[in-house]
């Protein structure tokens, strides 16, 4: 086992702390830091005041394709991509910053009920990046607005029209937030 650097560990604890505050599950922290499970669980309890949730992560790719989640994840991923590509914030730093910027954007339209869960949770945001890295999803460019949106990998994209330019007929008629309570 390699000699552990205290400074490195402190850095990772701070990183984990930020991610827990944003709602990260333990699995995310384990993947992003080299801290032990016990330490992470203790840190989690200290910050959140409760035990970390158990069980599997929500790992359906299809969730990202449904109408509103698709728009939300496209917002998040384009911010993440910008940060990771052009700014000094890379990987997990980019993830945290992008998620903060996403929360800001997602909360912009609905100030009345501030304590509602965001459509895209931090853990899902992290999953989305994993899905991109493993090539399960791709960005398809809308032929109308040229924006790139999250889509299944290998989907034909030459006639792709995004969820904003062509919303499904019933979009916005039901209360969209309620629809998204499933999963996390």
């Amino acid at each position: 086992m390699a000699v552990k650097s205290v400074a490195k560990e402190a850095e990772e604890i701070l990183l984990a702390t930020e991610m827990i505050r944003l709602g990260a599950r333990l699995q995310v922290l384990q993947a992003e830091t080299s801290l032990s499970y016990d330490r992470l669980a203790r840190l989690y309890r200290e910050i959140r005041g409760c035990s970390p949730p158990k069980g599997m992560l929500p790992f359906s790719v299809d969730w990202f394709m449904t109408w509103l989640p698709n728009i939300h994840s496209s917002v998040f991923y384009s911010v993440y991509q910008y940060l990771d590509t052009y700014t000094p914030a890379k990987k997990s730093r980019a993830l945290i910053e992008a998620y903060r910027l996403y929360l800001e954007q997602a909360g912009a339209g609905r100030s009345t009920d501030a304590d509602t869960e965001p459509v895209l949770s931090f853990t899902r945001a992290w999953m989305l990046i994993r899905f991109f890295e493993s090539g399960m999803v791709q960005l398809s460019h809308c032929v109308r607005c040229t924006g790139a949106f999250v889509a299944h990998a290998h989907d034909p994209s030459h006639n792709f029209v995004c969820a904003v330019c062509r919303p499904p007929p019933r979009a916005g008629k039901t209360r969209p937030r309620r629809v998204l309570q499933d999963g996390e």
Partner: protein, 112 residues
């Protein structure tokens, strides 16, 4: 009379320039990465802006034309953004997506 008119317009331009530069510096100081994202800057531009002294800022802002440019200057893109979908509730999200997918302004034009 036309002189006073153009003078106030000129003042407005310089004021916008100065506010823009000061805002840019503030955003970058508070959070470099997020500031770059919000401004659409590449790191070389961000570094230069960040290093400008107040005197340099005022000088730069003193130009008679605007130093900040419209980031959505693409006909198709802008028309897609301004069309009314679902009463405009998605417009902010849409513009965030489109803005963040543009290549940042750079000192040297990036090769596409």
């Amino acid at each position: 009379m036309p002189t006073t008119d153009s003078n106030t317009a000129l003042n407005d331009i310089q004021e916008v320039n100065l506010s823009y530069l000061m805002l840019a510096q503030r955003l970058l100081r508070e959070n470099y990465a997020a500031g770059m994202f919000r401004l659409g800057f590449s790191s070389d531009v961000a570094d230069i802006i960040l290093q400008l002294s107040p005197a340099q800022l005022v000088k730069l802002a003193g130009s008679s034309s605007l130093i900040c440019s419209f980031r959505l200057n693409d006909y198709g893109l802008l028309s897609a953004l301004t069309q009314d979908v679902l009463g405009g509730v998605l417009q902010q999200a849409h513009s965030t997506i489109l803005l963040s997918q543009r290549t940042p302004q750079s000192v040297i034009e990036p090769v596409q």
